[in-house]
Symmetry: D2
Subunit: 346 residues, 4 copies
């Protein structure tokens, strides 16, 4: 496309956090204009009534998906819950490119999808071939694609840390101990997400059963050319809103691992690998940005290595990465609309 | 100046929060380039060692002020503590414009300064005539100025709310009950600012004695052409990092007050006055931006009115407003480098 | 009653925060045994399934109110929402003493109740004569009572600060700027109470319309023998779980005010009045206790005074005060079950 | 000793968090009376000036250790920093029993102590034989002891989870991913512990180098009769004040592991092992108590098991356990002064 192309975008499910964040980020994108925001129960309101921080340039009326004039839409960002997302995406006209932030097209194996998400997939053939939008790894495949599945927030951080080193570590040793802010749980109303119950404490959840584990395993096995890599994935809810940190415990050689990470991401605009011996990466240092920071530490037990990655779950973990994927689908500079984001600290 | 002018900036006191925030915001300014960052005990480090979120485009070596090549500096942002700030500013070469974020040049009356801040002012004559950089009020005076004093964070929010209405309210009725995040206390090490002591609780401080009260009174009296307006100013420390909310209790007519605010800020790019009956403004809705939101509510007691204003204390309350002031000093669009800031929510 | 009496208690609405807190505190009361906990949608569960911190000594099965064997119950703690509470209380057998933590019996005037709470009162005659359970003021009236209405959390703190001085201040000057932790909003599911939306920010709510204002006015007028005192009451939601602070702005003489408070509470076991000049009271210093701390400060504006009171909204502001009221109804030492509570800091 | 014995206690280092917490808990102990609180820079103040929550029954003047009348002291709680603690303890008269909360007497091997804590031990012979005060494991040895070393907070949680199962798991598999509230870092003034830098984010620290790892290894090896067990120990700073959670990743059989934990702690008053399948334990459920909750989960990877333990780092992780140890030294019921503590939730 030529230099002047501007796309018109619809954000599906704009009343959730990833929807709102997508709208917010699109307001700063030079070549995409958000023209529609869909919602179900909140249709009829202005987006700024639901999210006052979007008042002004980013504001839009919320409409039902059925009421969108799709002839005026070039790209749709799917910010709906898994399950729900495919129901709408499968009905969209062919000319609408889709960047899906839900889990619906992440797993190639429809049977695994059904087992993991509790419903049959509407289009097993399609999901089997959808491109997995982890730009630093699958970015080269995205050019011209019409449907891209964005990774989950945990898989994003975990895979950025582990994909470059999966061939260097004992594949039987991978333990991911993950920590996420509460916004990762979305805007759904549950007692456990109330301030009074999520503040001033910490707990694990989904131990041994979290849905992001099969997704991480799929990509690690694809990369390693294996089928037998299993990962221990144990997430924890942290009393903070944004941010995600994965602590990956592996067996391998710390220098090899560090060198592989450095080499892989030397030219990646959003991923930094810290020098050996650097202070530990902190979610605060990437808050509000599309950045990922990775650091490697030798453990006191010989042969064990700790690899830590941090992201903002709502940016690199969802809406920012979705935009990065769109940029690549359009053969644009992948940093468009994202390069200017600066971490908000303190 | 012509369209292409770019200024070279030094940030004095870059190891504090307002210094770091100024550097961060300047990285997004199209016509200012930060070329020097000064610090005392941390000189010799990179700024990104102190503030890892500034790694990349915003990074600079921290040097002692004595080691700055001032011939290469067009403008200095003073982010030093009050008292300290004037000591350096008074030694700068004449060609260096100064935007001072400290309290040192805010009070016109050097005797009041001495009483309030506990030291004699080095240059009483100068402080008596310095422009007070509240752009929505004194902006027209800033063109070509070489020294501008930025208001304190509390005065910024309080005055934006009260200046338009001071002639409409009982001047003897003004009570400002203020709430600030902990970053307002700076990076100094005090037990009360430790997480374990600032989280999960609230308390007032400086009751009846806070240094921002004389500053607020100075400007209200100037505006009203009086000398006798005194304000009750009671700040509270809130367990949050950024954000400031002032609740102004006054006697007056709610419709008159609302109309005056609407009229005053109709064309102000950073100040919004919410419609009567709107949901209450929230610091979350301006976090990371140079915006101020103001709302007006009738009290249940006839004749009493509540005016609420919210800002981000580190942006509109300090570094963002400093840049807005520089823009006006240079006759640039006042939104330069600030227009793209979007509130980070959740 | 003799020294050995033990009462059997039912907690109505044990699945909310005040219900759970009442159960927790009763577990430490030497003369009350909780024998029943009622809930509607959660009936059939153990209380410890809903509130794991109650596992052990304080655990009980949750049953529907209809399934309680009232012949085995001496006292009921009403921890139901306003409106709902009276529906159940009016059906209880006569032998069951009631300590109601809801708003249903706080307002003497049924018309004001209807206007404030949006429904007609079931028993206007009864509510007109119910004792208002603010022990430091109405404690002497409680002996032998069968129904006591516990004050709201905001009225508790506000009235403890203002009742002793209402005759000493300009009655037209009373402004209460209040701050509460999120637990004050209860366990109901609303977006605004989610961690991601209640953390890291502050906002006012119910400005000019909060339901606790009429309650505060009722008691101030009763005390002053007037009918015309109106208060400005402006509450704010603070990103903390427990704790409540009221900042009362009045006109009066600071020494007189302080002396009156000191005199009033000299013998009160749970209320401390700090010396003039003391550091500001902090909600952290009363967390988990039935204590209230009050301090008085002269304002910089002559004749204005700031009175600050802090409580734990779930203890002195609800469940602890309820137990204190029961103690007085039974002619027991009012500190029974409460004296050993120590503030949890940090 | 007979039933009526009451001990007089000195708290050494009462101006830190563990000192203040020890004083707080002792105020509720029926057989110990705190008679002295020592501090260095704060000597001359009342404890309640430093910690207003201790006003009342728990208040004491802070004095220099040199000014304590040791003839009036039966037991000293050492709440000083490691290194400093032994300097004072080694000078105490023989009749003073010592419960040391510092790290100074935890490591049997003085060379390991020197390497880990950076100074030579004053009394290598004594530390080699001091009893390690983890009551559920070494409690039977404490009767009549005059010096007991309390475990670190992380070792307490880790060892309670791992000691019962170390013989059942692959000893080469133990990975402890730990999470602690900020109070675990003490009251020392560091930028990283400021609210503005510790809130709203998460990071690891001391990766591969934390001082608690050798302590954990010492006890695991002792228990297993080995010398070669090494543990990966990776702690993270969580934006909460109190609470500690350890996530232990091991290889073994989930049923065997669960059964061993159940059997070990069946009669332990402060340790609960949750049923298989129970909701995950949460630090909030033990806040303010001496309790530890442990749960076991099968991982999705066959043969891997996740064991989680939660404690309040300031109670079971320090001051509460210290009192539990004193109870055992005195042959008292180990729950004395601790049984009535109830978790503060929400």
């Amino acid at each position: 496309m030529n230099d002047k192309t501007t796309l018109k975008a619809a954000v599906l499910g704009a009343s959730g956090y990833t929807g709102a964040e997508t709208v917010r980020l699109l307001a700063g994108h030079p070549r995409v204009e958000a023209v529609a925001a869909t919602g179900h129960s909140l249709a009829g309101k202005q987006l700024s009534e639901i999210f006052p921080h979007l008042a002004g340039a980013a504001d839009l009326p919320v409409v039902k998906a059925d009421d969108v004039d799709w002839s005026n839409v070039d790209v749709a960002f799917g910010c709906l819950p898994h399950g729900t997302s495919q129901d709408l995406i499968e009905t969209l006209p062919d000319h609408v490119r889709v960047v899906d932030l839900s889990a619906d097209y992440r797993l190639r194996d429809a049977a695994l999808y059904a087992e993991t998400y509790g419903r049959a997939h509407l289009n097993p053939e399609r999901t089997a071939h959808v491109k997995y939008g982890l730009p630093e790894w699958r970015g080269a495949d995205l050019s011209g694609e019409t449907l891209v599945a964005c990774p989950g927030c945990y898989p994003t951080a975990s895979l950025l840390a582990l994909l470059p080193i999966i061939d260097l570590v004992d594949p039987d040793s991978v333990i991911i101990d993950a920590k996420s802010g509460v916004s990762g749980a979305g805007r759904g109303l549950k007692e456990g997400n109330l301030f009074s119950e999520a503040a001033e404490g910490v707990h694990a959840y989904g131990v041994g059963t979290h849905r992001h584990a099969p997704e991480i395993e799929q990509e690690l096995n694809l990369q390693a050319g294996r089928t037998d890599i299993g990962v221990t994935f144990t997430p924890h809810l942290i009393p903070m809103t944004r941010g995600e940190l994965v602590t990956c415990h592996v067996r391998g050689d710390v220098d090899q691992i560090h060198a592989a990470l450095i080499a892989k991401y030397a030219a990646a605009p959003f991923v930094s690998v810290l020098p050996l011996g650097a202070p530990t990466p902190d979610t605060r240092h990437v808050r509000g940005t599309n950045n990922c920071r990775i650091a490697v530490y030798p453990d006191r037990v010989k042969g064990r290595v700790v690899v830590i990655a941090v992201i903002d779950n709502l940016v690199k973990g969802s809406s920012g990465q979705a935009i990065q994927n769109l940029n690549l689908m359009m053969d644009w500079d992948e940093t468009l609309g994202l390069a200017g984001l600066q971490a908000l600290f303190p």
